[in-house]
């Protein structure tokens, strides 16, 4: 990364992504700027509390993590394997389980693909251009985060349901959206929409438009500028957004539950199947599917850490933390 952007005051960051974006920019290179607070924050300097107090605080934190994060994970895997590996793999090879895995992968592929496209376009428009109603658009992008997933699902029932706005027309033309794959995909796209855009907007804003302006003044077309300049600059941030988007797409329960119709072997995704099997007293099978989702979470975590390190090295740090949703 060049240092030229450091001299530019970036566009004032939008509210949700607040503060630090501007703060890091000074006459120092970005790298130095980032390392300085770290040096100050070295743990040694803060050891002002007496030993026992420190011990109690650390013990509290560790036991909290154990109870709320480690223990449930252990329970999932222990229950899944409680009748041995044979039963575990047999449960995963059930046609219903395979169909749920298939559906989940398909829906994730569709929604991640489309969100990638729309997310990049939205972030690009918002970060690099000024137009009236921009703030409103940003708020709109965040909307799915603030709406309960069940409501997100119900919205689609109201639109596409047989009693909904377009229901009669859809029924007459024999088009099935609700209680079929399109409805599940739509609901998933809706709830996962903000991830890509939110990871990119602050990053692109910080990068400013100078490099693009340079490219265009040298004769590059709009698309060339995007693929040769903008995209390489945001690739890690983009991957980061895609990763989170994918994790949520595969794990979504509430919205999908409303629009699924729960047809066995057809419209049950993995999270839905976990609940169904649990209610059928098939605990091993239920936790076997749950363990796949848990593994997805673990893999996501590892990849996320790797990506964050990359972003850090290249100065592409998403300022927001969408992972808390």
């Amino acid at each position: 990364m060049s240092t030229q952007t450091s001299f530019v005051t970036p566009v004032a960051p939008l509210k949700p992504y607040a503060s630090t974006a501007g703060a890091a920019v000074s006459s120092l290179s970005r790298r130095e700027a980032r390392e300085r607070p770290r040096a100050i924050a070295s743990p040694k300097d803060f050891r002002t509390e007496p030993g026992p107090v420190r011990f109690v605080i650390v013990a509290l934190a560790v036991s909290f993590l154990t109870i709320f994060v480690v223990l449930p994970l252990v329970v999932v895997f222990a229950s899944a394997l409680s009748k041995g590996f044979g039963a575990y793999f047999a449960a995963l090879a059930e046609p219903e389980a395979l169909s749920a895995i298939r559906l989940t992968l398909m829906v994730a592929a569709i929604s991640v693909g489309l969100n990638l496209l729309f997310g990049v376009i939205a972030a690009w428009a918002i970060a690099k251009f000024d137009f009236p109603g921009k703030t409103f658009l940003v708020t709109l992008i965040d909307l799915p985060f603030s709406v309960s997933p069940v409501i997100s699902g119900l919205v689609f029932v109201l639109l596409f349901g047989a009693q909904g706005y377009w229901g009669t027309w859809l029924q007459a033309h024999n088009i099935h959206i609700l209680f079929a794959v399109p409805g599940i995909a739509l609901a998933t796209i809706f709830v996962t929409f903000p991830f890509v855009a939110r990871s990119l907007i602050p990053l692109m804003q910080e990068q400013g438009t100078q490099e693009e302006e340079a490219a265009i003044s040298l004769g590059a077309s709009g698309l060339q500028t995007f693929f040769r300049v903008t995209l390489p600059n945001i690739k890690w941030g983009l991957l980061y957004g895609v990763l989170l988007c994918n994790a949520r797409a595969m794990g979504e329960f509430g919205a999908v539950s409303v629009v699924s119709g729960h047809i066995r072997g057809e419209t049950n995704t993995m999270p839905l199947l976990v609940e169904i099997l649990y209610n059928e007293y098939q605990f091993v099978a239920s936790f076997a599917i749950a363990s796949l989702l848990a593994m997805l979470a673990l893999i996501t975590l590892v990849v996320k850490t790797v990506l964050e390190r990359r972003l850090d090295d290249e100065g592409q740090i998403p300022r927001n933390d969408s992972s808390d949703h």
């Binding site: 298939r102 047989a162 009693q163 609700l178 119709g261 729960h262 066995r264 209610n279 059928e280 007293y281």
Partner: protein, 329 residues
């Protein structure tokens, strides 16, 4: 290595059912019938194949009876519905998807199998629960789902009410009795299976009000030693009804096979399957044969005591109905 395994896994995942049946039916049902219909569908498909030479695949959807009815109204393409109470099919009929006279089209109120509400207690029955009035004793914790959201819970509620009205002689006293009963309920789950899991798995409560078939199933799944079924001297006759969804079946051209499917319930084989899954059969002969499997309970019907589902629903479970009044206090 991974390159070799990946296509294999992908192939396995995508090798969807190459087998396509001549007919596909979607049966939208309520929660506790999963095992019942798994059994019944297999038997029907075999019988139909033998008789007509055509294969039938039956897909199932299960959930709370009310929300399943809602899904059918919203466009879930069910050829047949097999729900927990007639009121839910009435709701579908009100939207014109099912003929208004649906309950007359099949015999026995269109309920080929029935059940009743019994008590599931812990081993040895430590709280000595024998009849409905034992449930309002202080210190007895009763587990039942929320009648606002669960069809099964409405049967529980109405069974308690029917008992009290008969024993104490007036609706006011029945209301007091049911209010006292719900004071003993520590958790109101949203569905019947949720309540069963609360009682059986989470070890909450002294007695679970349950459909007889659910009580037997819980006992089978978790070992006979841990729970006992207590049948009260009197209870309600729970009649889960079935119907073809006319609009969907006609559009899909599946009416004939859908009707054959439902009629199969009234055959000896169908009645045997119901019995095997701890539902009470309608067929007198089969009932006699399995007399010993079911406790003798004096059964009253919803039509006798409450004047049918529509009225019961309005009086008891509607907005501001008796259940709302009870639960507010």
């Amino acid at each position: 290595m991974i390159r070799r395994i990946l296509p294999l896994v992908a192939g396995l995942l995508w090798a969807s059912s190459a087998f396509a049946a001549d007919y596909t039916l979607l049966n939208v049902s309520y929660d506790p019938t999963r095992e019942l219909y798994a059994d019944f569908n297999k038997a029907f498909a075999a019988a139909y194949q033998k008789e007509n030479g055509k294969s039938v695949e039956i897909k199932q959807s299960h959930g709370g009876s009310g929300s399943q009815a809602r899904a059918v109204i919203d466009g879930l393409q069910a050829d047949v519905v097999t729900l927990a109470l007639a009121y839910d099919i009435d709701a579908i009929a009100a939207k014109g998807l099912v003929a208004p006279d649906w309950q007359k089209r099949l015999s026995q109120n269109a309920s080929p199998y029935t059940s009743t509400i019994v008590f599931l207690v812990r081993k040895g029955n430590p709280k000595a629960i024998k009849d409905w009035d034992d449930l309002i004793k202080p210190g007895v914790q009763v587990i039942t789902p929320n009648p606002k959201t669960s069809g099964g819970a409405r049967w529980n509620y109405l069974a308690a009410w029917g008992f009290a009205e008969k024993k104490f002689g007036s609706p006011d006293k029945a209301k007091k009795f049911v209010a006292d009963l719900f004071k003993n309920v520590p958790v109101l789950d949203t569905g019947a299976r949720g309540s069963t899991v609360t009682f059986v798995e989470r070890d909450v409560g002294d007695v679970l009000l349950a459909w007889e078939n659910e009580a037997f199933l819980a006992q089978r799944e978790f070992g006979k030693g841990k729970f006992e079924i207590v049948a009260p001297p009197s209870s309600i006759l729970a009649e889960p009804p079935i119907s073809v969804v006319d609009k969907v079946a006609d559009k899909k051209g599946t009416r004939a096979v859908a009707e054959a499917y439902l009629k199969y319930w009234y055959t000896k084989e169908g009645q045997e399957i119901a019995t095997r899954n701890s539902y009470r059969p309608r067929d007198a002969e089969i009932a006699k044969e399995h007399e010993k499997s079911f406790a003798k309970v004096e059964l009253f019907t919803i039509d006798d005591v409450f004047g049918g589902w529509t009225k019961a629903q309005k009086d008891h479970f509607g907005e501001g109905g008796i259940f709302d009044q009870i639960y507010k206090n």
